[in-house]
Amino acid sequence: MPVDIDIAKVANLARLALSADELEAYGEQLLGILEHAERVQALPTEGVEPTSHPLPMVNGFRPDEITPCLDRESFLDAAPDSCDGQFRVPRILGE
């Protein structure tokens, strides 16, 4: 599969506000890296199962024990903004 990148679309998906110059520079670098990464497509892998995790591990269970939660205030104190015991953000909707 030939490598082509709509870098503005990718930056949008990644929620990164990049300038036109930055987009162009990153787009070129990504092409270089992907041309290298594309080599993986040369390997025949028909019938090979993908590995997403190194260990043959299914569902890590633990005893259901009641333990104290971390303190809410300590998390809110470390946040950029908070109000009434919750994280506070700018308006959600546009004009």
């Binding site: 506000a17 990153y26 950029p80």
Partner: protein
């Protein structure tokens, strides 16, 4: 007279128990050492003097009461700055987390504290552990104590440097594609990546969750065992930690290699490997053979593709993990007149450095509709091939060996403009991460420029006992006693 900062952990621990010195003496020794070396290295981002003093005093009080919490009680240890330390700055070397003080301790930090360790501070890294030189830190480059014009490797370059120079007795780093072993090789220290899941990742700021693993830096193999034993084992807070017995990590350190089968990885012994590194590796292989090991060649043909697969899998996982940095719950928030989503876009673009942005974009692309199967899916199938080849190799060999890094320490700036040349630094270390296997680097010599060369030993999952057994023999056979100029007495004698 021996400077206390040059003792091994085993020696320092013995001295604490015989009354030769106190934990406060050990802390003073590394603090004094750091006062000289930090001006050259910039290996620590934060030194927690108050916390360390308190912990050292507590350790001395405990010894006085006859209480012994284990071999790290009273020993000064440093942590890579991507591990959460309650109330102490934790930045992952990113502007996006500048000034953040976690409200909780990572499990590894809690275990070290419970064992009486004295935590000296937080060490520099490539931003979010993405890099092989520590040049990608938002807070300045760390230098190599053997030659300060050169990099210490990365991403755990700060942890490697403090151990090499004696401003900590040991340190912990994290290894996603070689980020413990490669800096260990470049600084002449022992760096070890445990089996995936042997050490809890709770409180480690995630980069690529299926690859990340915390491990120790030490000046000797025996110290490395001590550090790993203190933190290994199941953790209810990490569902990917192994819920089973910890292997007898240090049981066979003195057993030698007679009768063991050592496989030399063909693909890592040719093109692209520096001649001096190759010569030192061959020389150690001959010595292992002389010590009674059965040495053979083994081919891992997919390893050629492992690097390419890694640079799809790791960015894909990082693009998902780093989505949490959005200026809402922690870290940098951009001042933007707009919606929450505008704020998020600008917070992320302002807070992340270029390499992190590069990898987020790469991973987002590799996971996006239309490309997923050709890139990410195919990379995961290559990962299966790599694992299968390792498994087949371990049917014939107890351990595999290779150089750790294709070159010795390179100059600051030399590879900064060429991401692919930088990525090649990890060509020998990445396959163990893809397979989830344990692996370590032991220093075996110096090149013509006086720079250390690391020898890599790899073992199958949970094969830590055999891994350390061979590493200990490599250490004995190498007789590597050189120290970086910055750790020598001429520098530190007033």
């Amino acid at each position: 007279m021996t400077d206390l900062a040059d003792l091994t952990i085993v020696e320092a621990g013995a001295g604490l128990r015989s009354g030769d010195h106190t934990a406060r003496d050990l802390l003073a020794a590394v603090t004094t050492r750091a006062a000289v070396t930090e001006a050259h290295l910039h290996a620590y981002l934060t030194m927690d003097h108050e916390g360390a003093e308190r912990a050292a005093s507590a350790a001395d009080d405990a010894f006085a009461r006859g209480e012994d919490l284990g071999p790290l009680q009273g020993i000064p240890i440093a942590l890579k700055d991507n591990m959460c330390t309650k109330g102490v700055d934790t930045t992952a070397s990113s502007k996006i987390l500048a000034g953040w003080k976690p409200p909780y301790d990572a499990t590894i930090v809690a275990r070290l504290r419970a064992g009486g360790a004295v935590l000296t501070g937080k060490t520099n890294l490539d931003e979010f552990a993405m890099g092989s030189s520590t040049e990608n830190s938002a807070f300045g480059t760390t230098r190599n104590p053997w030659d300060t014009d050169r990099v210490p490797g990365g991403s755990s370059g700060g942890s490697a440097a403090v151990v090499a120079v004696g401003s900590a007795f040991g340190a912990f780093g994290s290894d996603t594609g070689g980020s413990i072993r490669q800096p260990a090789a470049l600084t002449g220290t022992v760096g070890m990546k445990p089996t995936y899941g042997l050490v809890s990742r709770y409180g480690l700021i995630a980069f690529a969750s299926s690859l990340d693993q915390i491990g120790p830096f030490a000046r000797t193999v025996a110290d490395s065992v001590t550090l790993l034993e203190a933190v290994a084992g199941w953790d209810r807070m990490d569902a990917t930690s192994i819920n089973g017995p910890v292997p007898p990590i240090g049981r066979s350190l003195d057993e030698g290699v007679a009768g063991l089968r050592v496989g030399v990885v063909t693909e890592f012994m040719g093109d692209g490997i520096d001649p001096a590194v190759l010569a030192a590796t061959r020389s150690m292989i001959d010595k292992l053979s002389g010590a009674g090991a059965t040495v053979g060649e083994v081919s891992l043909p997919s390893s050629e593709y492992a690097l390419s697969a890694y640079y799809l899998i790791a960015p894909a996982e990082c693009s998902a993990n780093l989505a949490r940095f959005d200026g809402v719950r922690y870290g940098h928030r951009a001042t933007v007149d707009g919606t929450t989503e505008d704020m998020m876009r600008h917070s992320r673009a302002e807070g992340f450095g270029p390499e992190v942005i590069r990898r987020i974009l790469l991973g987002t692309y590799a996971l996006s509709a239309g490309y997923y199967d050709a890139f990410y899916g195919q990379a995961q199938r290559v990962r299966t091939l790599v694992r299968d080849e390792f498994a087949a190799a371990y049917a014939d060999f107890d351990v595999l060996v290779s150089p750790t890094s294709p070159t010795t320490a390179f100059r600051v700036g030399e590879r900064a403009a060429d991401p692919i040349a930088m990525y090649y630094s990890d060509v020998c270390t990445i396959p163990s991460n893809l397979a989830g296997d344990p692996s370590m680097s032991v220093p075996v010599g110096l090149d013509a420029d006086g720079l250390p060369i690391g020898f890599q030993v790899m073992a199958p999952a949970l094969g830590e006992e055999r891994l350390f057994q061979v590493a200990a023999e490599v250490e004995r056979l190498a007789g590597f006693t050189a120290r970086p100029w910055l750790a020598t007495s001429e520098v530190h004698t007033p």
